[in-house]
């Protein structure tokens, strides 16, 4: 059900700064919207995003209701060695998803 889109270059030169693009499909319900009958729609958002490379954390984000639905986050890292990126999204109602991508450094 959960769909993560990850864009990481498959190959990079050592020392190159590469861009990582991530998208996780999620409603990101703010908790501020009402139904027609006046009930508040409960908050349901992703609260935390973490990216690790070979186990070491390289980027982390705290998300708030002001982040749009299907959070799209792009950031950078320096390519030093071949390895695996691991992505983790954690949110309300026990939401937890992971994804990974490999990169070869020449």
């Amino acid at each position: 059900m959960a769909a993560a889109l990850i864009n990481v270059p498959a190959k990079a030169k050592s020392g190159e700064i590469i861009e990582i693009k991530t998208l996780m499909s999620h409603i990101m319900e703010t908790g501020y919207r009402h139904t027609v009958s006046g009930e508040v729609v409960p908050r349901d958002i992703i609260t935390s995003f973490i990216c690790r490379f070979n186990g070491a954390e390289i980027f982390r984000a705290d998300l708030f209701p002001a982040i749009s639905a299907n959070p799209f986050i792009t950031f950078f890292t320096t390519a030093t060695e071949s390895g695996k990126f691991e992505f983790e999204w954690i949110g309300d109602k026990g939401f937890s998803e992971t994804a990974s991508a490999s990169m070869t450094v020449e």
């Binding site: 703010t30 980027f59 708030f64 209701p65 950031f75 950078f76 890292t77």
Partner: protein, 153 residues
């Protein structure tokens, strides 16, 4: 005299209407909440203007998805780097938009995402450096279609 009193009445009415408009929207961050949210991050340290670049369209048609890029003109060396970027708003129900933390090997202190804006307002980005200084940038954004306020059917 007649004119004067009519004008006064009009101003009183207009003022009353403005107060009513404000009280009808309780779930709205205020500049005071913005300031306190910034204090929560920066503590008592001075927040200087500069280094940070906040890239966001000045005129937004749809407040539900506003592309935003924050970058900091600062090297990312292990001994001297940007630790985090914090983005705040003035008039959404909550003053926080997002906190982004970088490791020393991040390469470039830049992050892009899409945000929601409930009203035309000021957006503030603050960068925390490893030497403990804080730098900021702010942009005024005009929003024609607001986020968060539409009803669910």
């Amino acid at each position: 005299m007649q004119d004067e009193s009519t004008r006064r009445e009009f101003l009183t009415l207009a003022g009353g209407a403005a107060v009513l408009a404000v009280t009808l929207r309780p779930a709205e961050a205020t500049p005071a909440m913005l300031a306190s949210a910034i204090r929560n991050v920066a503590g008592s340290a001075a927040v200087k203007i500069g280094k940070v670049k906040l890239d966001i369209p000045p005129l937004v048609e749809n407040g539900n998805t506003v592309p935003m890029t924050v970058s900091v003109a600062h090297p990312m060396a292990p001994e001297d780097h940007v630790k985090s970027i914090h983005v705040f708003n003035e008039k959404n129900p909550q003053p926080n938009i997002g906190n982004f933390y970088f490791g020393p090997q991040a390469g470039r202190a830049q992050v892009s995402t899409r945000i929601r804006l409930a009203d035309s307002q000021k957006i503030v980005a603050i960068a925390k450096l490893s030497d403990g200084t804080f730098w900021s940038a702010s942009v005024e954004v005009v929003v024609t279609l607001a986020a968060c306020t539409e009803e669910v059917i």
